[in-house]
């Protein structure tokens, strides 16, 4: 069967498939592509301007197509991926040669805008997009090192995707980059649609609570970690850069901190550390002090807590868990809801938590303060994915505190420390300092 017909048959069910005939010099050629990805009139105009300027009109179709695009085998298997990728296929039916042309494509990507999940105070506010090429461009603007290397991999069988492995050659440890390369090459036939699949390819335990890699929307963060000798992975259509390895300091430090005066920078980081500690420890401490070890509190405090808990019918642990679940629900709901309805949740939550629950003697008012503090504090760390482990850890502490009081709290903290100490991403321990040529953290 004719290639043209076979293609038409292959794309039978695709409404955006087109196949038009145009004149290029002396040849009539078929132009084939997907309407949704290719801006057809513009691309034809481009092809024609390109060819009309050619003086020598005795070119063979072979060499003509070579000039305007890249020759491909004229068979279905070779052409289809090109079409799906959004390229234009130019086919000269008489000689049977065909080539893939990079067309003027339709814009299916938003323009560069501010980051959605990470706010910046002082710093560039442009964020990564879905489009890989744009992302590399943005990144190159931020990381102007001549040693910036970008390696491309096509990963996946049924849904092939481009994955970029970006690093700065003279900063990164060869072992790390070799390790990553090997892992990716071994997993070339696995699909990557989301980070869990990426985890699978990189072979890390999927059940870990601590983030194995840092996803960031902000190019300056990615550029900064490149300079620290980390590796950035970018996956087509994921609007963020994945930074490997993720270290504990990523929770507390970000590039934009350096735009503050130095003392502020350290104070802010200290504040974030404090926030993380408060968010994990305080709820457990409340449970421990109220139900097991009231002697630790000052007398006045003990009496006022006892007073505020006077008619609360259940133990402190249940009380705390109850309210925490409500808080988590509010957090989740406010992400889920459209921006226009979002404030409603906040308001309703505020009323319930602020006043009604206490007035109804369902929880003590000290607990409201404790949990409000916890929620606020847990959001001070850098990166949303980093606040998740904090949210999880506090439940462990609450349960242990309810059983063993402050000793349980301590055991929980030690367990968490041990857990964190045991984590590593790509062979780099989570607790290690970024081994820096560009030093930005003196303690350790």
């Amino acid at each position: 069967m004719d290639l043209k017909l076979r293609l038409a048959d292959y794309f039978r069910t695709n409404a955006d498939y087109f196949n038009v005939e145009i004149q290029l010099l002396q040849y009539r050629v078929q132009v084939i592509g997907l309407d949704s990805l290719v801006d057809l009139p513009q691309s034809i105009a481009m092809l024609q301007t390109q060819t009309t300027n050619m003086v020598d009109d005795s070119l063979s179709p072979d060499s003509l197509l070579k000039i305007i695009g890249q020759l491909v085998d004229p068979d279905l298997g070779a052409i289809v991926p090109d079409i799906i990728k959004g390229n234009l296929i130019v086919l000269e039916p008489l000689s049977g040669t065909c080539c893939a042309v990079l067309p003027i494509s339709k814009v299916v990507t938003r323009s560069i805008g501010p980051a959605e999940t990470e706010n910046t105070l002082y710093g560039s506010s442009s964020s990564f997009l879905e489009d890989l090429n744009t992302n590399i461009g943005i990144l190159r603007k931020h990381c102007t090192s001549a040693n910036l290397k970008v390696e491309t991999y096509k990963v996946g069988k049924s849904n092939p995707k481009a994955v970029l492995l970006i690093y700065v050659e003279d900063q990164v440890k060869p072992a790390l980059i070799d390790n990553l390369r090997k892992k990716i090459e071994a997993g070339l036939d696995k699909d990557i649609q989301h980070l869990q699949q990426l985890e699978k390819i990189l072979g890390s335990n999927p059940w870990t609570v601590v983030a194995r890699f840092n996803a960031t929307e902000l190019p300056q963060n990615a550029a900064h970690s490149l300079q620290q000798g980390k590796v950035v992975l970018m996956i087509d259509r994921l609007p963020f850069a994945v930074i490997i390895p993720s270290l504990i300091w990523d929770m507390f430090c970000m590039k934009d901190d350096h735009n503050f005066p130095l003392p502020f920078m350290y104070l802010i980081r200290l504040l974030r550390i404090l926030g993380a500690l408060i968010a994990t420890i305080i709820p457990g401490l409340y449970v421990a002090l109220v139900s097991v070890n009231p002697e630790v509190l000052r007398l006045q405090l003990a009496l006022s807590i006892a007073h505020s808990r006077q008619d609360v019918p259940y133990p402190a642990m249940v009380e705390t868990l109850l309210l925490l679940v409500v808080l988590e629900l509010i957090l989740e709901a406010s992400i889920r809801l459209p921006k226009s309805i979002g404030p409603t949740v906040t308001m309703v939550g505020g009323i319930i938590l602020g006043q009604a629950a206490v007035a109804a003697k369902l929880v003590s008012n000290l607990l409201i303060i404790v949990l409000a503090g916890t929620t606020i504090a847990s959001s001070t760390v850098v990166g949303f994915q980093n606040s998740v482990p904090i949210r999880v850890f506090k439940y462990l502490l609450i349960i242990l505190s309810a059983i063993y009081g402050v000793l349980g709290l301590l055991a929980g903290i030690v367990l968490i420390c041990a857990y964190i100490g045991n984590q590593s991403s790509m062979g780099v321990p989570y607790l290690s300092m970024p081994s820096l040529t560009q030093k930005d953290e003196p303690n350790g």
Partner: protein, 364 residues
């Protein structure tokens, strides 16, 4: 990593910190009436020497563990040499964990049954030991960063009720060195004896740096002194010797009106418990490593699990506090063995190995 040697030094310090403040002062007050610093400095000096020999021995042998060093002298040698050490560590582990859980019920968990506390301590130690020494070293660093603050804060505050005259006389009127022969003094040596053996089992990835170890050792000296002198200066010898946990009583007397917490003992105790848990985990890991080398046919997690359960059952079987004390006295020979004989042997063996290597190098 740029922190070569830091991790091992921190582990060394943290393990000792976990031991010093609880059982040591009370034993020491029973052992000495006057001139306490002489006893402390004496034991400290012995410890520093011995640790120095131990590390030198290890260094001569270049990245080999103690087991390997002794194996170089014959297949049976490590069995003979290390079995008493193993026994001592088992008993020391049981005594420590049991004594600590007794103490915890005494201080703030009077309603909680003993076995439950033991279970918790064992669980934490087990989890940490399971994760291996690399994780433990990092954990030690993290714990040290987290808990040194409250610890130093409390130590600073506990000078509140100090009467410096209790330190007098500096040297007793008839000060002799007979305290060395005192049983209680020999028991008190457990603080110095059991906390450094693990250094000989560290893998290559956790190097030992002599300078950092020395700094760590120096940091410990004031801790040894404080653990005895704070209670002494607050209560005086004749009262302090009556307490089971003099250090905790001392801190309990501190009255801080501007803190939202009434009993700062709890911060102190908790910070130290964090360190103590690490000590237990390290000891458990040491025991496991020894077991694994001795009986390599046991598959990986089962050895540790079996060991933990065995130790748990034994520590539950201890009837009372007095038995614990008897046990402490009973293992004095073992203690002296692991304290002095093993490091010296390691030094000699390491030296021999080095000479052998040198000779080989010359021949070739």
């Amino acid at each position: 990593m740029a922190k070569g040697g830091l991790q091992s030094a921190v582990m060394y310090v943290v393990c000792h910190m976990g031991l010093i403040f609880f059982l040591y002062p009370s034993r020491f007050f029973s052992a000495m009436q006057t001139g306490h610093w002489i006893g402390i400095v004496f034991s400290y000096a012995v410890q520093m020497t011995v640790v120095f020999l131990y590390i030198m021995g290890l260094r001569f042998a270049k990245n080999q563990t103690v087991i390997d060093i002794f194996r170089s002298a014959g297949r049976v040698v490590p069995w003979i040499v290390l079995l008493p050490a193993f026994l001592y560590l088992v008993v020391a582990f049981i005594v420590t964990i049991r004594a600590y859980s007794e103490m915890l019920t005494l201080i703030f968990l009077s309603n909680t049954p003993l076995w439950a506390i033991l279970l918790l301590l064992f669980l934490v130690a087990f989890v940490m030991a399971w994760q291996g020494i690399g994780s433990m070293a990092r954990t030690a660093l993290l714990l040290a960063i987290l808990f040194s603050g409250p610890l130093l804060f409390v130590l600073y505050l506990s000078f509140q009720n100090v009467d410096w005259y209790y330190a007098l006389p500096f040297v007793g009127h008839k000060q002799t060195f007979t305290f060395i022969m005192d049983v209680e003094f020999q028991v008190s040596l457990f603080v110095y004896a059991g906390g450094f053996f693990f250094l000989g089992l560290l893998p290559v990835s956790i190097p030992i740096n002599m300078k950092k170890m020395a700094i760590g050792g120096l940091l410990l000296l004031p801790m040894y002194l404080l653990s005895v002198y704070l209670p002494l200066l607050t209560f005086g010898q004749s009262t302090a010797e009556l307490y089971e946990f003099p250090m905790l009583m001392t801190i309990d007397t501190v009255n801080v009106t501007w803190l939202m917490f009434d009993r700062i003992t709890i911060f102190f105790l908790l910070s130290l418990m964090a360190f103590a848990l690490l000590y237990m985990a390290v000891t458990l890991w040491t025991l496991m490593t020894l077991t694994k080398k001795a009986l390599p046919f046991i598959p990986d997690p089962y050895g540790l699990i079996g060991l933990t359960i065995l130790l748990f059952v034994i520590s539950l079987a201890i009837p009372d506090w007095d038995f614990l004390k008897q046990l402490q006295i009973g293992i004095i020979p073992l203690r002296l063995y692991i304290f002095i004989v093993i490091p010296v042997l390691t030094f000699i063996m390491g030296w021999r190995l080095k000479n052998k290597a040198n000779r080989k190098a010359e021949v070739s």
